[in-house]
């Protein structure tokens, strides 16, 4: 009777043990001891075990707890020692109690004693063929773990090299077995189990000791072997750490040639000749097996990300703060590695997806937000990026870089000049270190753009004065900055202070000789200084250094047209077309390919086919011609949008930017044909341009010019009128319209348009000359002579192309 009861009790106890219910196990063991005295050894063992385990749960066996453990574990020690003797051996408990004692000694920091008990337990003689219970598995795993840790902690002093090597091998073996058995144990656990500090340390330690011994490949193999074990709830957090660490090892210690790819798991399983004490591994068919370090790193990071994401805490209440920060730290660590691994390969959309997902649990986390915003910028999703930057700046108020980035996006991509200016002012206000000159420069750029786009003279003068001040401040603070000097020169040029501008552009070029925009401006300034030959030389030299720069070619074509005749210019044009084919044709075809990555249709705000592309003005490869002004490009945008909805016009597939460059080449070519007196060819060019965008004011203007050539003034007038309605701030078209009216015998209207033109561009001699002619026909000779005089005065400082035709430069 008693025996049966005891047997039943034993079963219950066994269950408690495997579930880690130590208090209950102790209670039951006491009961067992009371009920059947012949089970005393067993009871003692159980009590000792229970006390040891429950103590270690409260006080994990780490170095700081060693001293405390010596007192706290005295009871357990006594109990377990009592079982080690003859009684214990009879009851078959000696092995287990030796192992537990070894663990106990390790927890107390008494490594020698611990190792002694391992020796006594004769653990290594165990045969792998036996199937073990979960509890035994755990004891075994922990024992190997503790043994490894003991060997590692015991500093081998004065021992021979051979001895040291032997110890090392022993330690590595211990860790390896601890890992295998530990994983097997964890796989047998259903719910999330606490694996305990000893086991966790040993599992993570096993590859690290190999790194320490400079056996990197072995360490990597260790990681791989642990990671290929099938995941359970109990191993998730361990796997997160291991996956991240292996990714770290691959990123920090391995480079291309040193890498050996992992083997297929199924092969690994069979080679081990059916060991029972091995964890199950992933063996699905058709597995992804990394072939190089990038694939493996990314795979690991993806897995780590998925795991870390799962644990991310969304609760914001303070009681979860520590848990939340811990989880966030884990995720962030993975993201940082992912950033390192992807950006270099241009896989930013990949990274962006991760950050987007992270926002859910990253409320008010400046790091994640900043990275998110940056990834959007790199993806050229500017509108979105600007919004993200606004939020992100709130979280890190001292970060002037983000403000300046917002400003740059506003200027360069979105055409929001005033908003950009505000960001720049804010950056200057908050300025911390090193960025003060940049803030001033950006303020200047904003003011310059405002000055270019306003028509009110008083406002324009004010803005350009302020712009000069800002640029001068920037130059003063940072005397080594070519960009500020360049902008200072540009502003002077726009104000027609040619000599002043020349001084500054020379400084800019001295600071950086190879800056295409500076060279461009320099050439234009030389033409405005009656030195066209020098300008030509500069352009030629610049084209040697920047052979693919269509802007510079554009200038060259104009110069050639004026200096050497159309033959030469045609040659240049031919080159431009060839270049366009080389550089952009692919963009117009590969719509489903790489381009879509950058212009992700899913996210574009306006679903129009022609996208808003003020970036025509400036682009990463700075290859766009004749941007006129931001306002004009806005007009362009609006019109192309209208065109796509309105008429016989099908927008060309592919990048609108590429097409707009082609359009401008056609327009220029038409101009050259007209000057070589080939109106039919010019007409064909205009047709080509029109098929790209029929509503471009450049095309309409050129069509008008062709009509003028044929003396068809009525048609010409209509074309110019169209151009002006498309872009009311287009001075050439206004001038031409005025001229058309003049020839059609409508001098009053002509006067009106010419005055408008002069208001927009008061420095163009041509406008004043035409106006002079008109005034003459109106018999207003004083006004006429004034106009002519102005024209004469302006003529020497007139560049071959407007200074504002240079695109915005940011680097």
């Amino acid at each position: 009777m008693a025996k049966v009861r005891a047997g039943k009790l034993e079963n219950t106890i066994e269950q408690c043990r495997s579930e880690g219910k130590w208090q209950k196990s102790i209670e039951l063991a006491e009961e067992l001891k009371a009920s059947s005295p012949n089970h005393e050894a067993l009871s003692n063992f159980l009590i000792g075990e229970g006390k040891l385990e429950s103590y270690l749960e409260e006080n994990p066996p780490v170095e700081t707890n060693f001293g405390k453990a010596r007192i706290g574990l005295a009871d357990a020690k006594r109990m377990l020692i009592s079982v080690c003797g003859e009684d214990g051996r009879k009851a078959g408990l000696a092995l287990d109690s030796h192992l537990l004692l070894a663990k106990l000694y390790y927890a107390c920091g008494e490594f020698e004693d611990s190792l002694e008990h391992f020796k006594l337990s004769d653990i290594d003689s165990l045969k792998q063929e036996i199937t073990l219970s979960a509890r035994t598995l755990r004891i075994l795993a922990e024992s190997y773990a503790a043994k490894g840790l003991c060997i590692e902690a015991k500093t081998p002093k004065g021992t021979s090299k051979f001895k040291t090597a032997e110890m090392e091998t022993e330690m590595i073996n211990c860790f390896e077995r601890a890992a295998d058995i530990g994983l097997l144990y964890l796989q047998s656990q259903e719910g999330p189990a606490n694996m305990g500090a000893i086991l966790e340390t040993a599992l993570q330690r096993s590859p690290i000791v190999l790194i320490k011994l400079d056996r990197l490949q072995a360490a990597i193999d260790r990681y791989r072997s642990m990671l290929s074990a099938v995941e359970t709830k109990a191993t998730q957090s361990l796997r997160l750490t291991l996956a991240r660490q292996l990714a770290e090892v691959l990123l920090r210690g391995v480079s291309g040639t040193l890498y050996t790819p992992p083997l297929n798991n199924s092969r690994m399983n069979t080679s081990g000749a059916k060991k029972l004490w091995m964890p199950r591994r992933y063996t699905t068919r058709n597995q992804f097996i990394p072939k190089n370090q990038h694939e493996e790193t990314l795979l690991l990071l993806l897995i780590a990300e998925a795991l870390a994401n799962r644990d991310a805490v969304l609760s914001q209440s303070p009681e979860f703060r520590i848990a939340r920060l811990h989880a966030l730290g884990n995720v962030t660590a993975v993201y940082d590695l992912l950033t390192l691994a992807t950006v270099r390969w241009g896989q930013i959309s990949f990274l962006h997806d991760s950050f987007e997902k992270a926002l859910k649990f990253s409320f008010n986390e400046p790091h994640i937000w900043k990275q998110y915003a940056l990834s959007l910028i790199s993806l050229s999703r500017y509108q979105h990026a600007l919004n993200a930057l606004k939020d992100s700046s709130k979280l890190s108020p001292c970060d002037t870089v983000q403000l300046l980035m917002s400003a740059k996006i506003c200027y360069e991509q979105l055409g929001l000049i005033r908003e950009g200016l505000q960001f720049s002012y804010e950056a200057l206000r908050k300025e911390t270190k090193g960025m003060r000159s940049r803030a001033n420069l950006f303020i200047g750029i904003g003011l310059q753009q405002l000055a270019i786009t306003t028509t009110l003279k008083s406002e324009r003068d004010l803005f350009s004065r302020q712009a000069i001040e800002a640029f001068e401040k920037a130059v003063q603070i940072d005397q080594n900055d070519y960009l500020s000097e360049y902008y200072l020169a540009l502003q002077h040029a726009i104000n027609y202070n040619i000599t002043e501008a020349l001084v500054h552009i020379k400084t800019a070029l001295m600071l950086r000789a190879e800056h295409s925009q500076s060279l461009h401006l320099f050439a234009l300034l030389l033409t405005a200084n009656h030195r066209p030959n020098e300008a030509m030389r500069i352009i030629e030299d610049a084209l040697d250094e920047f052979p693919d720069n269509i802007n510079l070619m554009h200038v060259r074509a104009h110069l050639e047209l004026h200096m050497k005749g159309s033959e030469q210019a045609l040659n240049t044009l031919q080159k431009m077309i060839g270049l366009w084919k080389d550089l952009y044709e692919s963009q117009t075809q590969a719509i489903s390919g790489s381009l879509n990555e950058f212009h992700d249709d899913r996210h574009s705000e306006t679903k129009s086919v022609v996208q808003y592309q003020p970036s025509l003005i400036s682009d990463k490869d700075s290859n766009s011609i004749h941007p006129a002004s931001l306002a004009a490009s806005r007009v362009d945008h609006a019109l192309s949008e209208a065109a796509s909805s309105l008429s016989s016009f099908t927008p060309r597939p592919g990048s609108p930017k590429a097409w707009s460059i082609q359009l401008k080449i056609w327009v220029l070519l038409a101009d050259i044909y007209l000057s070589s007196e080939l109106p039919n060819e010019a007409e064909n060019c205009i047709q080509e341009a029109m098929s790209i965008n029929p509503l471009s004011h450049h095309v309409m203007y050129m069509k008008g010019k062709a009509n003028v050539y044929l003396n068809q003034w009525q048609e010409a007038k209509q074309c110019f009128l169209n151009a002006v309605s498309a872009n009311p701030l287009f001075p050439e078209a206004l001038r031409a319209l005025g001229e058309a009216h003049y020839y059609l015998g409508e001098p009053r209207l002509a006067e009106k348009y010419l005055k408008d033109a002069a208001k927009i561009d008061p420095n163009c001699p041509n406008i004043w000359y035409t106006l002079g002619k008109v005034m003459e026909s109106l018999d207003d000779f004083t006004a006429s002579s004034d106009c002519m005089a102005t024209s004469l005065q302006l003529e020497p400082s007139c560049p071959v192309l407007p200074f504002t035709s240079i695109n915005l430069a940011f680097d």
Binding site: I208, I211, R224, L227, V230, E231, T241, E248, R252, G253, V254, S255, L258, P262, Y282, Q287, I289, P290, L300, I303, N309, R310, L314, S315, F320, I322, A323, G329, D336, T339, R344, W345, Q347, H367, K370, L374, S375, S378, V401, K433, G434, R438, N480, Y482, L511, E514, E545, R602, V609, S645, L646, S647, S648, F649, T650, G654, M690, L695, S725, A726
Partner: protein
């Protein structure tokens, strides 16, 4: 001292028999003294005059030889040489460094081509979690993790392919430098560790030269790096801490800095922690100054990981990896009330209306039999659309701008991208009708089967809705081809339904034939883009059009109004002859049909 080592080395090599090369090469890998001496000379401008040329010459010979050891030996000086070269450009002293330029150019060209003269490329597959791997099984993962990566599915990522370069210009200079750094990175773990120190130092100079230092004094010390004492004393003469206006800044590019950062990150965890951290700071500052978003992404990530790395710091050794225990507090405090990402179950959203629209996309492409149903569904909202469009038209007809017709060339180019055009159309379609229900395409495709079920349900509903228009249709269609399939009938019926609506709504526009013409030609070209993939539909339409040709105004209107539907309804008779696979539809056919339209208009 350095001089004598280097001149011995040069003389040794010059007196070498070809068969001795291998043993000569073997000596280099461990010869730290020699590397040190060469670095010293490269760092000391005063010695360039005498030694730079022979060194470059010899390194070039090394690089050209097929001995990997010698190549690797040369590789370690790349950062140093790149700095020398870029600095010489910035100082306009290029003429003194021709030999460096030549070496760089040759090394680059050797690297971008393989033996057969083809361009080399380094690429890898982008892993996806949806595919099981040796480290995971897809079933254990959250559905969202799986889905999200699908679009990247096993995409091949390769390092930007490069061309051979005959001359280094301002335009390609930094691309060449990035390529060299990329090659350097490929061999990082084979390069002598001491070279990593020089890497850090030269990268710092590249990034920070010509800038005023904030926050810390110009590097007088690198902390406790082993190489520090010996090297800094040797090079202190050149990198004197004077920040005068004369040291020019060196122009850099994002890609170049990214490659450098990759190497620096490696150096940071391979003995040169403090030097590496210092360099990352320098690069970060430069990137901020230039507003390089890509570079800032990486530097921020590195800096953040240094601050909060859960496993360890680079200075700990062991690649910054140490045991990171799960905090016990985690287990204790995790209560049921805490919400984590795992607390969310992904619930499938109800597959309601948007799917029907989307089915246009998926079903049309794959399953012609379901096509007609889909089109019917698409036409539900037609009425509204024609309203807004008519308003637009009115506006447009009053503008002063008179665009001319597009040239024929353009139109024929139009169908090169048939599929893309189609996609766009569908997008627009979806957008206009379904703005608020707009959903992710990707996910939908997966649910195609479901969709089809839905479709059949919806189709039956619509059939009943169409009944009232059917009568109308019969009158209108006069001699409609009876032999067309039943499904096609349905389709035309729905179209005619639209036409009806359209003509009713746009009465005021009838008066503007010019606009009509424009519109029709617009639609023509729109249609062209899609026709080819919808030959089935086109067949049906043509029969339809033969019938409708008698009652004028409708067809162009119709096609305009159902912009999105244009794959079905445009008056394109010519196509009937070449409907099977006519990718190359010529414009004259277009013009003819356009003529037809005009006639019917007038």
């Amino acid at each position: 001292m350095a001089e004598s080592i280097v001149s011995d080395w040069i003389n040794d090599f010059n007196g070498l028999e070809p068969q001795q090369l291998r043993s000569f090469a073997a000596l280099h890998n461990e010869n730290h003294e020699l590397s040190q001496a060469i670095h010293t000379i490269l760092n000391d401008k005063s010695k360039h005059q005498e030694y730079l040329h022979p060194i470059c010459n010899q390194l070039y010979n090394f690089y050209r030889s097929n001995e990997n050891e010698l190549k690797c030996f040369t590789l370690q000086f790349f950062p140093n040489l790149i700095y020398l070269y870029l600095n010489s450009i910035a100082c306009s002293e290029k003429h003194n460094y021709r030999c460096v330029e030549t070496l760089i150019l040759c090394a680059y060209n050797i690297e971008v081509c393989n033996e057969n003269g083809l361009l080399k490329s380094v690429s890898y597959r982008m892993p996806v979690l949806a595919q099981a791997s040796i480290y995971h099984e897809e079933k254990n993962l959250h559905a969202s993790d799986l889905k999200r990566w699908e679009e990247h599915s096993n995409k091949e990522v390769s390092w930007r392919s490069l061309h051979q370069v005959y001359k280094i210009t301002a335009q390609n200079r930094l691309a060449v430098m990035s390529a060299l750094m990329f090659i350097f990175n490929q061999q990082l773990s084979l390069i002598q560790k001491s070279a990593l120190y020089h890497l850090c130092k030269n990268s710092s100079k590249l990034a920070a030269q010509g800038f005023i230092k904030y926050g810390h004094s110009y590097r007088s010390s690198y902390g406790n790096d082993p190489m520090n004492t010996s090297i800094s004393s040797a090079s202190s003469t050149t990198s004197a801490p004077n920040i005068n206006k004369m040291t020019p800044r060196i122009p850099l590019s994002q890609q170049f800095l990214l490659e450098v950062l990759n190497a620096i990150y490696f150096a940071m965890f391979n003995e040169f922690a403090s030097a590496g951290i210092q360099t990352v700071d320098d690069i970060h500052n430069r990137a901020c100054y230039e507003l390089y978003s890509d570079v800032i992404l990486v530097t921020t990530a590195i800096k953040n990981s240094l601050q909060t790395n859960p496993s360890g710091q680079p200075s700990d050794g062991l690649m910054g990896i140490s045991v990171a225990l799960t905090p016990s507090t985690n287990v204790v405090t995790v209560s049921k009330s805490m919400i984590t990402n795992a607390s969310f179950r992904t619930k499938k959203l109800p597959d309601d209306i948007p799917i029907q629209i989307d089915s246009n996309t998926s079903v049309n492409q794959s399953n012609p039999s379901a096509q007609s149903q889909a089109q019917q569904l698409g036409s539900i909202n037609e009425e509204q659309e024609s309203d807004t469009n008519s308003a637009k038209l009115q506006q447009q007809s009053s503008t002063t701008i008179v665009p001319t017709q597009k040239s024929s060339k353009e139109a024929s180019k139009g169908h090169k991208t048939v599929v893309s055009g189609l996609k766009k159309l569908i997008d627009r379609d979806k957008d206009s009708k379904d703005k608020d229900k707009d959903k992710d395409d990707e996910g939908k495709k997966k649910e195609k089967e479901k969709v089809e079920k839905e479709l059949s349900k919806a189709a039956s509903a619509i059939k009943s809705g169409l009944n009232d228009t059917k009568e109308n249709m019969k009158k209108l269609m006069g001699k409609d081809k009876q032999n067309s399939k039943a499904s096609l009938q349905q389709q035309t019926q729905s179209n005619h339904h639209d036409e009806h609506q359209a003509s009713a709504n746009n009465g005021d526009i009838k008066s503007s034939p010019l606009v009509l013409m424009k519109r029709s030609s617009d639609v023509l070209s729109d249609g062209l883009a899609t026709e080819v993939s919808f030959t089935n539909a086109v067949d049906g339409v043509i029969s339809n059009n033969n019938g409708t040709g008698t009652h004028g105004i409708m067809s162009p209107f119709d096609s305009f109004n159902s912009d999105s539907e244009s794959e079905v309804d445009h008056p394109h008779q010519q196509l009937s002859t070449s409907s099977s696979a006519s990718v190359n539809i010529m414009m004259d056919s277009n013009a003819k049909s356009l003529g037809n339209v005009q006639v019917s208009q007038v």
